[in-house]
């Protein structure tokens, strides 16, 4: 479906936007029902999500663990549901098991439906610019795209690097 866009609305935030050809109730379900989350939120090929626990209520916890089939390594993340307005808004905290950035992240998912299509906006806010930059640098922010779009285009039109 739509093109994935990534922007930096402030120096502590990263935002992703994408359009899905489905009503938002389904997009919301896909983010909140474990049996559905496990089927798409997987990352690189060869990773599965053996743990996907979701206690969908304000103050409820979630816990997700991914596992690499290649070497058995795991990566875990957890947090708390702060706001739940089905099927339009979800606010969660996030903290990785291995704290590779300082403090907690706050994720806000907003779903807007129009003509049967849903525009998803996921905004990730960090406690400091340094934490956000750590996320940017690590690439764990799930693909920084749009801000670099123009540069990618320019590079494509430039002579090869010497």
């Amino acid at each position: 479906m739509g093109q994935l866009k990534v922007t930096m609305p402030s120096d502590r935030e990263i935002a992703m936007t994408r359009v899905f050809d489905a009503p938002r109730t389904l997009v919301f379900d896909a983010h909140t029902k474990p049996e559905l989350v496990k089927r798409w939120l997987l990352g690189p090929p060869g990773w599965t999500m053996p743990v996907c626990e979701i206690d969908l209520r304000v103050g409820g916890k979630y816990r997700w663990v991914w596992r690499s089939d290649n070497d058995g390594s795991t990566m875990g993340i957890g947090g708390v549901y702060r706001e739940i307005v089905a099927p339009e808004r979800l606010v969660t905290t996030e903290r990785f098991d291995e704290a590779w950035y300082a403090g907690e992240g706050l994720n806000t998912l907003v779903l807007v439906e129009k003509g049967g299509r849903t525009t998803l906006t996921q905004t990730m806010r960090y406690e400091s610019k340094e934490a956000r930059d750590a996320v940017l640098k690590s690439g764990m922010e799930k693909g920084v795209e749009a801000s670099y779009d123009r540069l990618v285009e320019l590079l494509a039109s430039m002579p090869a690097a010497r």
């Binding site: 930096m8 896909a30 930059d133 940017l136 690439g139």
Partner: protein, 115 residues
């Protein structure tokens, strides 16, 4: 998720919109500090600070003209950074493509209210 320290500096440098704008300007040809400062509401010292970060990150270098000291883009490092970002963009895009497929499946299961 380990990356080289050099790319670390590159991403820190790219995380700033002014510095990305400078790179975009330099992609169309070398420019002096004064020329780079003009489109931004910024003093030359402020621009020089950004240029220093970009230089340290290996994204730009100084041209040959000793008088103007023009800056030019160093495309190799930028290409490395973009290639790396592109890998992670593809990763997340992969997630969303799986979500597209899942939503198609869910749509067929959902009762059609409007029919």
């Amino acid at each position: 998720m380990v990356m080289q320290a050099s790319l670390d500096a590159t991403f820190a440098a790219l995380a700033d919109p002014t510095r990305r704008a400078i790179l975009t300007r330099l992609a169309s040809g070398e420019a002096s500090v004064a020329e780079l400062a003009r489109p931004f509401a910024m003093s030359q010292p402020a621009i020089s600070k950004h240029l220093k970060v970009l230089e340290r990150a290996g994204l730009i270098r100084r041209g040959r003209d000793a008088q103007r000291r023009p800056r030019r883009l160093e495309p190799k490092r930028l290409a490395e950074a973009i290639e790396w970002l592109e890998r992670y963009r593809r990763l997340w895009e992969g997630n969303y493509q799986r979500l597209d497929a899942l939503l198609e499946e869910l749509k067929t299961k959902e009762p059609k209210w409007d029919s």
